[in-house]
Symmetry: C2
Subunit: 278 residues, 2 copies
């Protein structure tokens, strides 16, 4: 730690770098004061300026938390325009005919493992669900893990990953049975007893939802941890809303139909406004 | 895009924000010139300043790429001190007695799903393996996915995830058998044929290595894609080097012994110097 007075340029660099590299994490004003050798009032002015620039860029905003554990944090609450760009990037990539697989499935493995795209999507989820004040993100192996991970990162909270088979290396677990819509059979999901603390506020994130059997399973699992689901987000869903086992979830788009013969992907993306709360 | 001339403060904010939010991605000077309404020489001076600050902070550096597709990118090539901090954080967390599970296993599920810690570890991997110029990161489900994901993100390259059972939603796959040291039985790993392009330079990342059977399997799988492994990194390994099935890998530490009765975890972390190349 240095207390040498730093130039404005260096202060702006230092604060921007710390805030952008640690989304969702509260950084105390004292930390900046100590590291930059500037008065608290100067740091506050700099932060107000960074906040303005950030909002102009449409990439997010800064939140100020008062009190003893107070400070400032970066939250990727994006502008409607930024969200619209991500939605159309996602749509373009998903509607590529080459994605159609035998049986009318859509190849999505590259999308759910693309860190770049998932950061944009996870940022949108974080900006939306921050109002629900989640303490932890919960997902299930395998394909939703990265998306759940970046969402948790942007919210500055941990992640828990349920598994279909418990492993000896996870210690005691709580298991439940559920019916997965994609395989249409009874499966087991389990989570280490120490993965979620009692009375947690849990955000469910997954890559894909058909009927919602998996999300319903995750919700039941959450109850076993004496905790509560406060939000549910999936990248994509398939089929009609009336057939769903759960309600109140947020998805980026709905796949209505994939026509293998005519190479047609009938996809409807949600509107950017859907992802913005006041 | 605006071409209104922006203040120095705003330029430093804008460039720092873009670079930090897109590690491993090359951003052209033209992009900054167009968005900030400043001369190329001014942008170059600003970037030199940001580079100095970044190196002072010990968090990374900026790389300049010349030529038509040239530009600048942020690589988290960390200082020895920054790396040492991560190593000791990891050591402190791992040697908590409460992690000892029946059978002499170590509970690590929280660590391999902690976005904050994994960003630090993934940043170190990225700073180390960038010299090997990988095109893609390859891992296997489940526990290594987040670490592999952040490493890929910092390198600005995609990720491929091998699975133990192929799914109908992945289309055609290539499968191989391998012997996993942790379960000591023959298993299958598969990867969609479209996941890795021919002649790729592949970086293998996993959370844990016992004998190296899984990494050896991933190496064999890579060969089936007519590609080449250029680096191997694991968070932790167990046991003696002479018993390993693979060589030339980088790990953060070695678990020598876990004593269930005496609640003792015998862990040796690697030295920070090990993670720095010239």
């Amino acid at each position: 730690m240095t207390s040498i007075k730093q130039s404005k340029t260096k202060r702006i660099f230092f604060m921007t770098q710390k805030l952008m590299s640690n989304p969702g994490k509260t950084i105390s004003l004292k930390y900046f004061v100590d590291n930059l050798g500037a008065a608290k009032s100067t740091i506050s002015e700099d932060l107000a300026q960074i906040k303005n620039y950030l909002e102009e860029s449409g990439e997010g905003t800064l939140y100020t938390l008062a009190g003893k554990h107070g400070g400032i944090k970066f939250i990727p609450r994006q502008s409607s325009e930024t969200i619209a760009n991500t939605l159309s990037e996602l749509e373009n990539r998903l509607t590529d005919q080459k994605r159609i697989l035998p049986g009318g499935y859509l190849y999505m493995s590259d999308i759910v493992s693309d860190p770049d795209l998932l950061k944009k999507v996870g940022g949108i989820f974080a900006g939306y669900f921050i109002n629900d004040q989640p303490d932890i993100v919960l997902t299930i192996e395998t394909k939703g893990i990265l998306l759940a991970g970046v969402t948790a990162d942007y919210l500055g909270i941990p992640l828990a990953i349920a598994r279909n088979n418990s492993r000896v290396t996870e210690g005691a677990v709580i298991s439940i049975n559920y019916i997965s819509g994609s395989s249409n059979k009874i499966q087991t999901m389990s989570l280490p007893t120490r993965a979620i603390e009692k009375n947690s506020r849990v955000l469910l994130i997954d890559d894909f939802m058909k009927q919602g059997g998996t999300l319903k399973g995750l919700k039941n699992l959450t109850k076993e941890f004496e905790s509560k689901v406060v939000g549910k987000g999936v990248l994509l869903e398939r089929g009609q809303a009336q057939d769903k086992l759960i309600t109140d979830y947020l998805s980026f788009g709905i796949i209505n139909k994939i026509d293998e013969e005519y190479k047609d992907i009938d996809l409807r993306m949600n509107l950017p406004e859907k992802f913005i709360r006041n």
